[in-house]
Amino acid sequence: MPVTFDRSAEPGVVRLEGEIDIALAAALKEVLLEGLASAGEVRISLESATGLDVTAVQLLWAAEREAKASGVVLALQGPVPEKLRATLEEAGLERFPFADSPAAASEAQ
């Protein structure tokens, strides 16, 4: 599965791999909801993702908001591939969700 929630890790990791497009949108939503409901802290890994489309971005965005509202710590694990970042920047999505989260800030450089 390109979209998974790894409960075994501590904290749990929502892992996005390959092309994440509309076909995976429903699955991604489920996985994110599962992640948000599981614990007080969740990581999101985009390291192996090669593409995100709008549906994925808006889900991540909504997840971040949801996390903030419910007091869950949601942060990136590992860097965001440059290609993803470039695509999102080009589309004016430069304020990438979690980009300002501490985990990402330290790893992005």
């Binding site: 440059e82 695509t87 080009e90 004016g92 304020r95």
Partner: protein, 755 residues
């Protein structure tokens, strides 16, 4: 039910469009193969794939959309400079196009999608792009971007001056489900110039209520480009109906400032997080120069409303532009042309009746109808005229593939691609041209080593050319290969009993043997040709189009095959003439003038078949004699001077009745070998007139005269063709029997013979 039909109609529309796109794509790819660094070509490939994917998804061609999407991604990598254009990539994409074509046609024709091949192609594409991905996930994209950007900027500078456009783009709920991807659209936009985009996330609901497949994000963008509004609008062409879109120009000097303002707005917007939808629409408004957060709510709403109104207005005025051209199934056009044909025949009868009546009102109406019919006929004919470009361009692929398979280096050049021909003619041209090109590639063009040894350019050339010539179109296929070995052809013809060893044959006659069924001088049969099937097909097809073939070849220099085809198969403008009781139609386009021929004129040149036209001696053919019309010849006859490849020539007839628009009817299978007559028509008075082909008539006359002279010089050879032999003995030309039909048999008989 109606909805089903609508969908069908849309699907057909998509299929038509996809076919055209695939042809274009193929041509662009082949061009790209030659100019691998050309960023514009890469962009064109990408856009074409993008369009096929987008509209494919919209009309339910999901497999196609997914497949094209993967290819599109590969070319996106190329566009971004991550992936280089290699012959492998081009070949891979070409074979992918074949599969896409099959997906488009699936269920229609016998096209079958080879899913195994598809999977292989995708695996190879993945291998190509995958390696590019791993090559440099670091700073590569930035570098690539910098590398490609100067190209687009340079392009822009060299063209029109740049100006800034403000684009509001809000994908509706349906957009994503239709297979469109807003990010790709935006990327396409940024390909047009410098784009500053700001996405508003304000409408994204809580994750629990979020419909995963719906797009909630909307964009405000400023694009500084030299492209016009149409080009910008084209990016959204497939989603325009399912999204909110407003494109507005703004003063060019504002562009830079606005860039900054928007970016500013974006950050603020992001910081605010959950703004109202109205705020997002209005946020980049720069007129006030103030950041949107400072604006008061009333202003914001007023501006949003104004924006909406402007958008509504734009939409309304856009409507007429989109209907500038429309697609019509070819069958419907054919039906129209058929009806017009019937109308022309009936109108001819009406004119005839009106001319015989004393009623001036009937006459006036008849004349008016004649005028209208003529205009209608001309109009409907132009509807079916299409440029030959697409047919020619298709062969780039064939030449590319064959050159690779045969290990030859061949370049295809095209000339006169804008020449227009009736669609029915063009549709049937593909096969003959393909056989001619295959033949040239396989037999005509030498191996690179041999070319080098003979001091020729290593890259061989195949040249396709089209040009108008009177009522015909000449289509030439030339190569600069080895040429035809006349002796080999002759020997083979003797072996096969097509001629005798001592027969005196002109070069053209010798070359014409290659069009005999099963004729081949090839020592071994290759995959490409050599079975002796192709050229026979060429001849049959061209003749069924009432065309002719000529071959010119020079050893070591190359071969040119010229097809002469009629512009249209349906209707011609002609002159109606009589010989005795028989009616003939001469195509107006090949008729130059009409002069009188009296007995004194004939005596003056001692009975030779020559006429003095303003000091120039022109040979003539007596149709009375040629068609064996056995009625006494009138005191004054008319010479119709026609232009032929052999020069000017006269055709002697009894009377010229006047011009006529003629619907061409086939003579039927029985008379398919009669070449001097290109068809027949039914006149207003119900009689049948034969439509003459002056070109063939003159050729035939020249040929039989040369034969006669040779015969006279040598004594008759044993195997003269039966027709000629008969002519020799009786002096009666071969086509006499046909005229009896024309003068004796009524219209009904001919009409039934032609069906």
């Amino acid at each position: 039910m109606a909805a089903d039909q609508d969908i069908d109609q849309f699907r057909h529309g998509f299929q038509e469009e996809a076919r055209e796109l695939l042809v274009e794509l193929e041509a662009v790819l082949l061009e790209l193969n030659e100019r691998r660094e050309d960023g514009e070509l890469v962009g064109r490939v990408f856009r074409a794939l993008h369009t096929i994917k987008g509209s494919g998804a919209m009309f339910g061609f999901d497999e196609l959309a997914a497949f094209a999407h993967k290819l599109e991604n590969a070319f996106d990598e190329v566009r971004k400079g991550h992936l280089a254009v290699t012959p492998d990539l081009v070949d891979l994409t070409l074979s992918a196009l074949d599969q896409i074509r099959a997906m488009v046609e699936e269920g229609e024709n016998d096209a079958a999608v080879d899913r195994g091949a598809c999977a292989q192609i995708l695996a190879k594409v993945r291998a190509l792009t995958g390696s590019a991905d791993t090559a440099g996930p670091g700073n590569e994209p930035d570098k690539a971007r910098k590398a490609t950007q100067p190209v687009t900027e340079k392009e822009a500078e060299s063209a029109k001056p740049e100006r800034a456009w403000r684009i509001h783009f809000a994908p509706g709920p349906e957009l994503m489900r239709n297979g469109a991807d807003p990010l790709l659209l935006i990327r396409e936009l940024s390909g047009l110039g410098r784009l500053t985009a700001h996405a508003s996330m304000a409408e994204i609901p809580a994750i629990g209520e979020l419909e995963p497949e719906r797009c909630y994000v909307c964009w405000e963008m400023v694009l500084v480009t030299s492209a016009g509004e149409d080009a910008i609008r084209d990016v959204f062409i497939f989603v325009e109906d399912v999204c909110e879109l407003a494109i507005e120009p703004e003063a060019a000097e504002d562009g830079a400032i606005r860039d900054g303002a928007t970016r500013d707005g974006a950050i603020r917007e992001g910081a605010i997080g959950t703004g109202s939808p109205a705020a997002t629409v209005a946020s980049p408004e720069p007129e006030t120069g103030a950041p949107p957060a400072v604006e008061c709510a009333g202003d914001v709403i007023a501006k949003a409303l104004e924006e909406k109104r402007r958008m509504a207005g734009r939409r309304a005025t856009d409507q007429p532009e989109t209907s500038a051209s429309l697609r019509v199934p070819a069958a419907r056009l054919d039906q129209l042309v058929d009806l017009v044909g019937e109308m022309v025949t009936v109108q001819a009868r009406l004119s005839e009746i009106a001319a015989g009546s004393d009623d001036s009102e009937v006459l006036a109406v008849s004349e008016e109808i004649e005028r209208l019919t003529s205009a209608l006929r001309e109009n409907s004919m132009t509807l079916r005229m299409v440029p030959i470009r697409a047919t020619f361009e298709r062969f780039r692929r064939l030449v590319h593939d064959l050159a690779r398979d045969l290990g030859k280096d061949v370049e295809l050049t095209i000339e006169g691609a804008d020449t227009e021909l009736d669609k029915t003619v063009i549709d049937q041209l593909g096969d003959p041209l393909m056989h001619l090109i295959r033949n040239s590639m396989d037999h005509g063009i030498e191996s690179p080593e041999r070319r080098a040894a003979e001091g020729k350019r290593p890259t061989a050339k195949i040249h396709l050319a089209a040009q108008h010539s009177g009522a015909s179109v000449l289509i030439g296929v030339s190569d600069d290969g080895a040429g035809i070995d006349g002796d080999a052809v002759r020997n083979r013809a003797v072996e096969r009993g097509l001629t005798t060893a001592d027969a005196q044959l002109s070069e053209a006659e010798i070359f014409s043997f290659i069009f005999q069924p099963g004729f081949s001088t090839a020592k071994q049969v290759t995959d490409v040709s050599g079975r002796g099937v192709g050229m026979d097909v060429v001849r049959q097809r061209v003749e069924s189009l009432r065309g002719s073939i000529e071959v010119a070849s020079q050893r070591g220099q190359g071969t040119t095959v010229t097809l002469r085809l009629p512009l249209t198969l349906a209707i011609i403008d002609g002159l109606l003439v009589t010989v005795g009781e028989a009616f003939f139609v001469l195509p107006l386009a090949s008729t130059l003038e009409c002069i009188e021929l009296t007995r004194e004129d004939i005596e003056r040149v001692n009975g030779k078949h020559m006429a003095d036209v303003r000091g120039e001696l022109i040979p003539y053919i007596r149709l009375r004699q040629y068609f064996a019309v056995n009625t006494p010849r009138p005191e004054r006859e008319q010479i119709m001077v026609v232009e032929s490849e052999e020069g000017r020539c006269g055709l002697v007839v009894d009377q010229v009745l006047g011009d006529c628009q003629t619907v061409i009817r086939n003579l039927g299978r029985l008379y398919r070998h009669v070449q001097v007559v290109s068809g027949a028509t039914i006149l207003g008075n119900g009689k049948v007139a034969l439509i003459l082909d002056p070109q063939r008539l003159v050729q035939e006359a020249v040929r039989s005269r040369m034969q006669r002279e040779r015969v006279r010089a040598q004594g008759p050879p044993p195997n003269l063709t039966p027709n000629l032999a008969r002519e020799q003995q009786s002096g009666v030309p071969p086509d006499g029997a046909l005229v009896e039909i024309a003068s004796n048999v009524g219209a009904g008989a001919l009409a039934s013979a032609s069906h």
